[in-house]
């Protein structure tokens, strides 16, 4: 078990805290009737073994990571729940295994993943590659689904914490207090299972479970306008010890100087060491606290990392990430609309390709002929297009494109759609809230601004080891755009009952007056003129045995 915590101040004054717990299991999950678990949680291990899972990535997120202002995230996830799984080639019925897997996971994590069915599952062809050891990339073994409506809260966090060997009793996990974690701008928890090499020679396979959790605290507004922060102020806890089962337990604080010459901030207590690394095309300096070194807890019983800014930061100059994107719904009325995606490449001189993956539910009928991609006023032809049209109530639209982004440009992708009418049983509760369309996924190898050395992957902090970096000059980025909220034409659901009420009332009133007409005793002034009413009344009175009028 290796546990890490990365604290990085964001340009807007918020603080992002990223926890990562890595558990490795040196056993072959696929074989053997008897299985024995030590640090690896049994619930997940059995799942992987029983269903033939090769790789599993599950992320539950509340809030949206603002790439434009916060910079490139270490590991982004779309709002709601995201699940993508590679199955073993031995699995014969992938759809059945996928269905079973999502049901079991929804039980383990108390999330509504059981709503994953064929209408929101897609098979991407290019966007998602296996992150672990894999010898084949047959994308029929891949399933991907996003539930943008999913709300993440404590009931999802508790089972997630239960998978940690030390629980929330020791180590970095003591900071995971639900009350504070959900009082934040962004919360994302994820589980990644993948096979990795056991050693450098890579003869045997180990399984790696990576549990990550990212929170963004808005310290600026909660701290009386100051950007200083400490562990205690953010989590209302401090660190007292490392998890006794951990082989590595470190806290990294991002103290990279924004301006080259001046130190703007200071951290207390003094860090055990300082680590420099190139992360996502940017040179970063980290103050490292090794919780396993005994000297750290000598002076005080607990570790409360604090960061103070020496002088107010000039917030005018905010670094803009090389790649970021934006998405919105255009159009008016309830019949047609338009999905617009803006992709920004702010790299000063390099163009690079990006893979865009769009999943649109079937009730928005896309018109593919209206797809336009415009960069700098000119049409941009994608070099690869994979489009799978939707089938009503069966599967969603899938649109994958490889687009070349010229340097320093904005690319606008628009596609028009028509809103379908649903059957009245298909509307969710509160249909006037609108229907969510999942985030689109941008995957790109972004060229870095500064040269990158080939760093030892195992040594570098956090997530650099999750995504393979192909060479020194570029790094892999996966971005998610905002989820969309689209209004569909909704009927008046109380209408049938209203109609029943109205017609019933009319019928009842008619009946009542007719009945009265028949049964009332009418005293006629002139006995000689017996009208129709009187005769009818007499007939009825005769039947009743009452004296005639």
């Amino acid at each position: 078990l290796r546990e890490e915590l990365l604290l990085s101040p964001l340009p807007t004054g918020d603080v992002a805290a990223t926890f990562q717990f890595r558990t490795r299991w040196d056993a072959d999950l696929q074989r053997g009737a008897v299985s024995h678990y030590r640090l690896f949680p049994k619930a997940l291990g059995r799942l992987v073994a029983a269903l033939g899972v090769r790789e599993l990535h599950l992320a539950l997120t509340q809030g949206f990571w603002r790439t434009r202002f916060w910079g490139q995230p270490p590991l982004q996830a779309p709002a709601g729940a995201e699940l993508w799984v590679w199955f073993q080639p031995t699995v014969t019925d992938v759809d059945k295994a996928w269905k079973e897997l999502s049901n079991i996971l929804s039980g383990i994590f108390c999330a509504s993943l059981n709503f994953i069915d064929s209408t929101n599952t897609i098979i991407p062809t290019a966007s998602f590659k296996p992150l672990g050891l894999a010898n084949g990339t047959d994308h029929h073994l891949l399933r991907y689904a996003v539930l943008p409506r999913e709300v993440v809260c404590t009931e999802n966090l508790t089972p997630w914490k239960k998978l940690l060997p030390c629980g929330s009793k020791a180590g970095l996990a003591v900071l995971l207090k639900a009350e504070r974690l959900f009082h934040s701008s962004y919360h994302s928890q994820a589980v990644h299972i993948r096979p990795v090499c056991r050693d450098a020679s890579c003869v045997a396979v180990s399984w790696e479970l990576r549990q990550t959790l990212t929170v963004v605290f808005d310290v600026f507004s909660s701290g009386q306008g100051k950007k200083d922060w400490s562990l205690f102020r953010m989590f209302s806890r401090t660190l007292t010890d490392a998890c006794p089962l951990a082989s590595q337990s470190k806290v990294y604080v991002d103290i990279s100087p924004k301006n080259k010459e001046k130190e703007l901030l200071e951290v207390t207590p003094p860090p055990t060491s300082v680590h420099e690394a190139v992360v996502q095309g940017d040179k970063k300096t980290y103050a490292v606290y090794d919780l396993l070194s005994p000297s750290l807890f000598n002076t005080s019983r607990s570790l409360n990392v604090q960061l103070k800014w020496k002088r107010p930061q000039d917030s005018s100059e905010m670094p803009v990430p090389v790649l970021h994107a934006q998405r919105y719904v255009g159009g008016y009325g309830l019949q047609t609309g338009e999905i617009c995606t803006l992709i920004y490449n702010t790299h000063p001189y390099r163009a690079f390709p990006v893979i865009l993956l769009e999943t649109v539910p079937w009730y928005l009928r896309l018109y593919v002929h209206t797809l336009t991609i415009i960069t700098k006023g000119k049409e941009n032809k994608p070099s690869y297009i994979h489009y799978q049209p939707a089938q009503d109530r069966r599967r969603p639209h899938l649109l994958e494109m490889l687009i070349q982004l010229p340097a320093n440009s904005v690319t606008k992708i628009t596609i028009q759609f028509e809103r379908a009418l649903l059957k009245w049983t298909e509307y969710p509760p509160d249909p006037n809230h609108g229907f969510y369309v999942g985030s689109s996924v941008l995957s790109a190898l972004v060229p870095s601004v500064i040269a990158m050395k080939d760093v030892d992957v195992e040594q570098s902090p956090l997530f650099t080891s999750l995504f393979p970096s192909s060479d020194g000059s570029s790094y892999f980025v996966r971005l998610y755009t905002e989820p969309l909220l689209v209004n569909l034409p909704t009927p008046d659901f109380s209408m049938p009952y209203n109609v029943i009420c109205l017609t019933c009332t009319v019928v009842a009133v008619c009946y009542g007056s007719f009945y009265n007409l028949l049964t009332r005793t009418f005293h006629v002034e002139e006995p000689s003129r017996g009208g129709l009413a009187k005769r009818l009344a007499n007939v009825i009175r005769k039947l009743r045995g009452v004296p005639l009028l």
Binding site: V34, A43, P244
Partner: protein, 495 residues
């Protein structure tokens, strides 16, 4: 209506034939016993005894020195199917059985019985031994426990697990204090060495899967009491029910299968609470330091000896003695399957089942109980399905559900028929199939009763019609009543 037939062969060795036999050997005889579970349910058991004299080879096998050797030698001569028994009657003065025991039950499906002089004495012994080796009235009643009125069964009878197609066995090592104890157990070796032979034998009854896990920082739900005299911590018997709950939350549910889980926990108490002992109701420490929870599993407390010097470096490395642990867990496993040696008369001698942990006749014992229970389960399931159909008239039974129901009925009938013929194994297989099909029919998603509108709700929708229509009718009814009352008054006025 269910009849359990046990074929019993009684073999007389020379010199053991009682004088007052009703007819010369060989002859047949039937003994019946009625086990009533409740007013409507009863099970008839029928022992079909066939008496004969021993053959020459059996005589030679019985001529060895000890009972154990005789048992092994006789096993080679037998060709018995599951559920049938062979009882060898030896002379009252035979030296084959040790002094003081009159019945010896072997590892397989045979027993040695002293003749006891008279036929009556032999009959009682035979009845005892056949009941021990097949089933007793209480064991059958225990399997039908949900039909027995409350209070008639002892708590022990409710201990054994429900019959199921499979079981999952989970061994968990709980280490609440990883800072001071680094506990290691060789579970893989222990499972292969001790558990696997037993499960291989039991694989006839159900499918088993075994796994293990280590849980850290898992604590018991109660704080033990410190006892000054023995300078140890004590858990009293009445607090044991509260121990399991907090642990259970950490155990991890069996998400991947629907079989019931048997949990065996090995708890290594934290340093500040060790040594920890369990006290029974009388306050004496329990020898095994373990307890079991009915239909759930067992917990054993494994104390770690304190290091000689207090300065010993932490964490302390501990290797668990798996033989000691597995001995307890296997005993608990037997208890949870309802196999206990407690109710035996004193003059009985049981051969230890050896490495397999289970004698053949004990397997039969399980099969008898599970077959009866399966048949009862199927009848309950089908009855409740029928009740559901009675309640909701317009429910749709699809063809596949109907065929499952037919299959279940056919299988259960064949199971009952096989039981009446004494074919235990095929009866058990048929009852298993019946359970599978009846459950599949009952839990079919199309039979969810929420899918159907109850009639009162349909009525409620038309309330806006019925209510205004009822108003004039009620008013005129009231008027009629008023008029008739007035007319009754008027004649008296006239007078």
């Amino acid at each position: 209506q269910v009849q359990l037939v046990v074929p019993v062969a009684v073999v007389f060795s020379p010199g053991s034939v009682p004088e007052d036999l009703p007819s010369p050997l060989p002859f047949r005889d039937v003994q019946e016993m009625e086990i009533s579970v409740n007013l409507r349910t009863s099970v008839t058991s029928r022992y079909e005894m066939s008496y004969r004299a021993a053959t020459a080879r059996e005589e030679a096998a019985l001529a060895v020195a000890t009972a154990r050797e005789a048992d092994a030698a006789l096993h080679l001569l037998q060709d018995v199917s599951m559920g049938s028994l062979t009882v060898y009657v030896v002379a009252e003065t035979s030296s084959l059985l040790p002094q003081g025991t009159s019945v010896y039950v072997g590892r397989h499906r045979s027993a040695l019985v002293r003749s006891g002089g008279s036929l009556a004495a032999l009959h009682t012994r035979l009845r005892q031994v056949t009941q021990v080796m097949s089933f007793t009235a209480t064991s059958i009643a225990a399997t039908l426990s949900d039909r027995v009125p409350d209070g008639r069964l002892s708590p022990d009878a409710r201990r054994s697990l429900k019959s199921s197609l499979g079981y999952e066995i989970t061994f968990s090592l709980l280490n609440p204090d990883p800072k001071s104890h680094d506990v290691d157990w060789d579970i893989e070796g222990a499972v292969n060495c001790y558990v696997k032979p037993v499960l291989d034998k039991l694989s006839l009854v159900a499918n088993f899967s075994v796994d293990s896990q280590i849980l850290y920082y898992a604590i018991l739900g109660v704080t033990p009491r410190y006892d000054k005299e023995s300078s140890s911590f004590l858990l009293s018997a009445h607090s044991l029910p509260h121990v399991i709950n907090p642990v259970e939350a950490r155990l991890g549910s069996s998400a991947a299968s629907l079989y019931p889980v048997l949990n065996f926990l090995l708890y290594v108490p934290e340093r500040s609470h060790s040594p920890l002992y369990i006290q029974d109701k009388d306050g004496a420490p329990v020898r095994t330091n373990a307890f079991h929870s009915p239909r759930w599993g067992g917990i054993m407390i494994y104390n770690v000896e304190a290091p000689a010097s207090p300065q010993a470096s932490l964490p302390l490395h501990v290797d668990v003695d798996m033989a000691r642990v597995m001995e307890v867990f296997l005993a608990q496993l037997r208890l949870l399957f309802g196999l206990s040696w407690e109710e035996l008369p004193p003059e009985f001698l049981l051969e230890s089942p050896g490495n397999e942990g289970l004698a053949d006749w004990e397997l039969d014992h399980l099969l008898w109980a599970h077959t009866v229970e399966n048949i009862a389960t199927v009848s309950t399931t089908l009855t409740s399905l029928a009740q559901l159909l009675d309640k909701i008239g317009n429910i749709v039974i699809k063809d596949d559900v109907a065929s499952e129901v037919y299959q279940a009925v056919a299988s259960v009938q064949s199971a009952v028929a096989k039981l009446a013929m004494g074919h235990l194994h095929s009866a058990f297989q048929a009852s298993k199939e019946a359970v599978t099909s009846s459950e599949r029919a009952f839990f079919d998603p199309s039979l969810l009763h929420l899918l159907y509108f109850p009639d009162d709700q349909k009525f409620a929708i038309y309330i806006p019609l019925f209510l205004p229509m009822a108003v004039p009718i009620l008013l005129s009814l009231a008027k009629i009543v008023r008029e008739t009352r007035q007319r009754k008054k008027e004649p008296t006025k006239m007078d």
